[in-house]
């Protein structure tokens, strides 16, 4: 056996991920060691401390630009910015996940076999604490996402993809209400996710065959060499892209989104809508900008068509939705299309605009789902649109906040929705992709309709018998709502500090 040469490892640059993975392992130990009644507090505390510590490390490492552990991980501007974004949005999601005061027993079921109304469920409602595995699972998912946006070779990226996907499949199944819907969603997500992973892996094999390596810089150099088998390159690129497009929920790989968003526990839906989106687009950006930018003229039109298709599928289907969580799912699909417009600008403005969009959208969508978790009746959340009729008369503050968030989604000026759309569309025009912007604007116009329909329903309809009561938000949910609205306003009125930050961070290392 020959001497194994250990590659140099920059532990500082890796520390955010290491902290999260260690905390997740500790969390599993906690499940064993700490008594049940203390677990919730300990787990939430542990998870929050880990996320904050990781965030601190990201800030400390903010000037690091390096490729480490044998070329597997790249820590550069986009990595650090996206990791910071994932951690901040993750912390906010954890607050939603940790909320226990809205419904006694929390939103998560203790054990998979417990059904609604069963004896165990009633015990949980009576005060027996629910499951706390959600915290280590969420922290694992967050760790995987951090690795995903930092991965500098395709296999590391695949591993990271699985590391954050598997906990998400589980988390989707944990809703305490509507158990069957939740379990169905989890199973669908798992099956289709595995299917997409297979595409990704297949693509990695093609790329390896083409380039003779899986590191992104190796691929980049191989792309410049016209002697290599081009069919392998394009097949590989297409299949790798499909794996990522699935996670980012772009048409026609979006089909899982509405079902999963609807079935998953609302805090998990919020988590996915905010953090998974950042991770998926982070990886997509890195692959397209670092490895395949040599064939940008070839993938731009194909992915452009996908972006347009996504925007229109999201916008058109949102029009007839009757369930708010599904409506927001389609809205998130359409937003994935707008993000893709920024990605396809393929310039620094595109990169910084996309990153800005991810942060802005993440905060708004977290606030939106936080509100959905508040409107409920005896059977849990009342997500059917008809139940929201006239809710503005009953709870003007809540309806006002929701109206504001919907206007943000519609891209009204003075909100972050406007500035972020402006950022990606502006970058795309500069990158010569005006046609994408035209379709983007048309579809935003369509998309304004479903949002405004909800606004009209909330304010101008008479409250019916079935209009549910609005729960008083607990401290954590109030914090999420407050933060979401604050950031949405701030990024709409004074976006320049964050835009500057994204500009500084818009250089990949290769």
């Amino acid at each position: 056996m020959g001497e194994v040469q250990l590659p140099p490892i920059d532990y500082g640059a890796l520390s955010p991920m290491l902290i999260l993975f260690a905390a997740a392992c500790l969390g599993i130990l906690t499940e064993v060691v700490v008594p049940r009644r203390l677990r919730n507090g300990v787990q939430l505390g542990l998870a929050m401390i880990a996320v904050v510590a990781a965030l601190v490390m990201v800030v400390i490492e903010r000037n690091t630009r390096t490729i480490t552990i044998g070329g597997a991980v790249a820590v550069d501007g986009p990595t650090l910015f996206l990791q910071g974004a994932i951690l901040v949005l993750g912390a906010v999601s954890l607050m939603l996940i940790g909320e226990r005061s809205i419904e006694k027993g929390g939103a998560f079921v203790a054990q998979a076999a417990v059904t609604v109304g069963s004896q165990q469920d009633q015990q949980q409602a009576a005060g027996r604490p629910g499951a706390t595995e959600v915290y280590p699972l969420s922290v694992f998912a967050l760790g995987g996402m951090l690795l995903f946006v930092a991965a500098n070779d395709l296999l590391t990226m695949f591993v990271a993809l699985e590391v954050f996907s598997l906990p998400l499949y589980l988390l989707c199944a944990l809703a305490r209400r509507r158990r069957l819907l939740s379990q169905e969603a989890a199973l669908k997500y798992f099956l289709l996710g595995s299917y997409a992973s297979a595409f990704f892996l297949f693509g990695v094999a093609f790329v390896y065959g083409f380039a003779g390596g899986i590191q992104l810089d190796v691929v980049h150099e191989a792309v410049a060499d016209p002697q290599r088998p081009q069919i392998l390159l394009y097949a590989g690129l297409a299949l790798v892209a499909i794996g990522l497009l699935f996670k980012a929920a772009l048409a026609p790989f979006h089909v899982w989104t509405p079902d999963v968003y609807q079935g998953a526990p609302t805090p998990i839906t919020a988590f996915m809508a905010a953090c998974t989106k950042v991770a998926a687009f982070g990886a997509l950006l890195r692959i397209l900008y670092v490895a395949f930018d040599g064939v940008r003229w070839d993938f731009q039109p194909v992915l452009g068509v996908i972006a347009v298709l996504t925007m229109f599928v999201g916008a058109v289907l949102a029009v007839t939705q009757t369930d708010l969580k599904r409506l927001l799912a389609y809205s998130s699909i359409a937003n994935a299309g707008y993000l893709m417009v920024g990605v396809l600008a393929l310039n620094e403005e595109g990169l910084s605009g996309t990153m800005f969009y991810l942060v802005a959208y993440g905060f708004s969508v977290l606030a939106a789902f936080a509100i959905i978790s508040l409107v409920r009746d005896a059977d849990g959340e009342a997500t059917h649109l008809s139940r929201w009729a006239g809710i503005g008369r009953k709870s003007p503050l809540l309806a006002g906040v929701f109206t504001f968030i919907l206007l943000t989604f519609a891209g009204i000026p003075m909100t972050s929705g406007f500035t972020s759309k402006f950022a990606v569309f502006g970058a795309a025009v500069e990158g010569g992709q005006t046609w994408l912007v035209i379709f983007g604007v048309i579809s935003s116009m369509l998309l304004a309709f479903p949002y405004l329909r909800v606004v009209v329903l909330m304010w101008l309809s008479e409250p019916g018998e079935s209009t549910p009561a609005v729960s008083i938000p607990g401290f954590l949910t109030s914090a999420v709502l407050g933060l979401g609205v604050l950031v949405t306003v701030a990024l709409g009125v004074v976006p320049s500090p964050l835009i500057d930050l994204t500009r500084e961070a818009s250089q990949f290392v290769r």
């Binding site: 199973l187 669908k188 099956l191 289709l192 299917y195 997409a196 595409f199 081009q230 069919i231 390159l233 394009y234 097949a235 690129l237 297409a238 299949l239 892209a241 499909i242 699935f246 048409a251 026609p252 790989f253 089909v255 899982w256 509405p258 079902d259 003229w297 070839d298 993938f299 039109p301 194909v302 068509v305 996908i306 599928v313 058109v316 289907l317 949102a318 029009v319 007839t320 369509l446 309709f449």
Partner: protein
């Protein structure tokens, strides 16, 4: 005439000129915001606000007078108002000799009319609101004359337009008042649009709207540009001042309470157009064609006003048409240029006194005659309303220009200046127009005066014994009467000297007119006495109380020389049809397309929804199809089938 315009920064007392605008504005805000709580004392707050502005105006004015001859101006930049790209607009004020006299006129006459309104509006439930709007008007008017750039002027311009609209339709439950308010607003819009475009043009051509920059830059502009800019400003001025062709709204504006007519539609706001032309004198003096247009507008309007005024029977309408006509004289003056700028301003100030005096007098008459406005229904009031009669008489003698009352000193020089035009045909045309106007003015004002105060009583049956108005109304009348008597004599030489820095040094040239100055003075006195004597002889014994058949000219004059009919046929009717056509297009065309699209999207959405079956197998199929298409597309590109 190469001279640079410079304004000295405000110092000392003069740095407080912002209070002039701020005090009435704050008072208006308080009155409007407090609502009913201010009902009991609100009107006094309004009076005090304007009176304190007057005091500050006096102090500032004397401070200004104390400055050295060359540097008699005070510019105060409060803050940057609009900063966009190359456009930089100050929120700045400028007190110079011209704005100084306007400040005194507005706050001085304004105070008296506010005081009078306390009595006049005593029984009106909306008195507090009235004073709020009144204060708002004063603030806006002061901003108009005190601004140091055209945008500030426009700001005040729109402000007085708003206040005027609110006050004309103050009794908005009366359909005629509501309509009159709308008419004034719409016709002013035409002028305002002209002014706005003029300001835009200034910005594009000169890069600034500050007075100093604009006036210094005028000499570098092409003649055509100056002409267009001046015509646009003139359009604005015509709208606000009721000059041809935008004169029709002013007489209708008499639907408002009488103090409004006195303050806004006689003494101050309607002279804003004269102020605009006078302020912009470097622009207007730079182009002779432009001056000719201004002079023509003035001459035509003064004749129109006189002719229509002679045929009307409503006391306030006659006064309104006389206002139109007198402002015509002022336009004539500012159009003549040179020394006549100052003459126009003198006439404007004198007019402010005697017209406010007569309007308030008319209000006093109406107060005693149960709001009757038809002069055929007055008569013999001199015995019952002595103070009103005497004060009104001073106004009447002033306007027709009997020496030594103010009108003689202010109007006669304008007539003389008109005869001094260099081109002979112009001198004769405009000189004669002004002279004929003087005769007609004497005729219809005497008719008004005689029918109201003398001859047999022709009152309606419900009036037993007309009474004199209370002291709070007669005291302002007396003060204004004093002004009507003395103002002209006091101002005839002092004001032109005072205004020299604004209009440039104009050496008193020997008259080169087609007629000598003495001849003109004699002629104008002659036509005045002729007109007044004719009217006295005709109406000494009263008149019929019903409309009489009349010749073509009188019928036309009764119908405002068909200008309303013209507006209706040329602008209103096509406008209505255009609106209808657009509404039709909107309903059928645009809404049809929009609704159709919406239905299409909805239908498409419903169909696409069915693809979302909920079965994993169909989802997987759609992903597979997508994957095949994407891979296919990439390979197609690679093989050169696409792109």
């Amino acid at each position: 005439m190469e001279q640079t315009v410079e304004y000295a920064p405000a110092t000392g007392v003069l740095s407080g000129i912002w209070l002039l605008v701020a005090i009435p504005l704050a008072s208006a805000a308080i009155l409007l915001l407090l609502g009913k709580r201010a009902d009991r004392w609100g009107h006094w707050l309004g009076v005090v606000a304007v009176a304190s502005s007057f005091v500050i105006g006096l102090v500032s004015f004397s401070a200004l007078a104390g400055l050295e001859d060359g540097a008699r101006s005070a510019e105060l930049s409060l803050w940057d108002f609009i900063v966009v790209g190359g456009l930089n607009v100050d929120f700045g004020l400028l007190l110079d000799p011209l704005s100084g006299v306007f400040v005194l006129l507005i706050t001085g006459v304004g105070s008296l009319i506010h005081l009078y309104a306390v009595g006049y509006m005593a029984h009106d439930p909306g008195r507090r609101k009235f004073f709020a709007y009144f204060n708002l008007f004063v603030a806006a008017m002061l901003l108009l004359v005190l601004g140091n750039n055209y945008v500030m002027l426009y700001f005040g311009w729109e402000g007085v337009g708003l206040a005027s609209y609110l006050l004309i339709s103050f009794w908005y439950t009366k359909p005629s008042a509501a309509t009159a308010g709308k008419k004034a607003f719409l016709m002013n819009r035409v002028g305002d649009a002209g002014l706005a475009i003029g300001i835009f043009l200034m910005f594009t051509e000169l890069g600034s709207t500050q007075y100093a920059d604009v006036f210094n830059g005028v000499s570098s502009l092409a003649a055509g540009t100056i002409l267009v800019m001046g015509l646009l400003l003139l359009l604005g001025a015509c709208g606000k001042s009721g000059q041809f062709p935008l004169q029709a709204w002013l007489p209708d504006a008499m639907e408002g309470p009488t103090p409004v007519s006195a303050l806004i539609h006689a003494a101050t706001m309607v002279t804003a157009g004269v102020y605009l032309v006078a302020r912009s004198n470097p622009i207007f003096s730079a182009n002779t064609t432009l001056q000719l247009v201004v002079v023509s507008v003035g001459a035509l309007t003064l004749l129109i006003g006189c002719v229509i005024g002679s045929a009307k029977d409503d006391i306030k309408r006659i006064l309104a048409w006389s206002t139109v006509s007198q402002i015509g004289y002022m336009f004539l003056g500012v159009g003549l240029g040179g020394a006549a700028y100052a003459l126009a301003i003198v006439h404007l100030l004198a007019h402010g006194f005697f017209k406010a005096n007569m309007f308030l007098g008319a209000g006093s008459v109406m107060h005693g005659m149960r709001d009757q406005v038809d002069i055929r229904r007055f008569g013999a009031l001199s015995k019952h309303m002595r103070i009103t009669w005497i004060t009104f008489a001073t106004g009447w003698l002033a306007i027709i220009g009997i020496p030594p009352l103010s009108g003689f000193f202010s109007k006669e020089p304008i007539i003389a200046a008109a005869f001094e035009r260099e081109v002979t045909w112009e001198a004769w045309t405009f000189g004669l127009a002004a002279l004929i106007g003087a005769g007609l003015t004497a005729f219809y004002m005497t008719r008004l005066f005689v029918l109201t105060f003398h001859g047999p009583a022709r009152w309606t049956d419900d009036i037993e014994h007309p009474h004199e108005s209370p002291a709070i109304m007669t005291i302002p009348l007396i003060l204004l009467a004093a002004g009507s008597i003395g103002a002209g004599w006091l101002m005839s030489t002092s004001v032109p000297d005072w205004l020299n820095p604004v209009f440039g040094e104009t050496a008193e040239e020997a008259a080169h007119g087609v007629l000598s100055h003495t001849v003109i003075t004699i002629l104008s006195l002659l036509v005045t006495v002729l007109g007044a004597g004719l009217a006295w002889a005709l109406f000494r014994n009263g008149t019929a109380t019903e409309p009489q058949p009349a010749g073509a000219l009188v019928t036309a004059a009764r119908k405002n020389l068909y200008t309303d009919a013209f507006n209706e046929a040329v602008f209103e009717k096509p406008g209505i049809y255009l609106t209808r056509a657009l509404v039709f297009l909107d309903n059928r065309g645009i809404d049809g397309v929009v609704n159709g699209l919406a239905a299409a999207v909805g239908g498409g959405s419903g169909r696409l929804r069915r693809l979302q079956t909920g079965f994993v197998r169909s989802y997987a199929t759609s992903m597979l199809t997508g994957a095949v298409l994407v891979v296919g597309a990439f390979l197609a590109i690679q093989l050169g089938w696409l792109a």
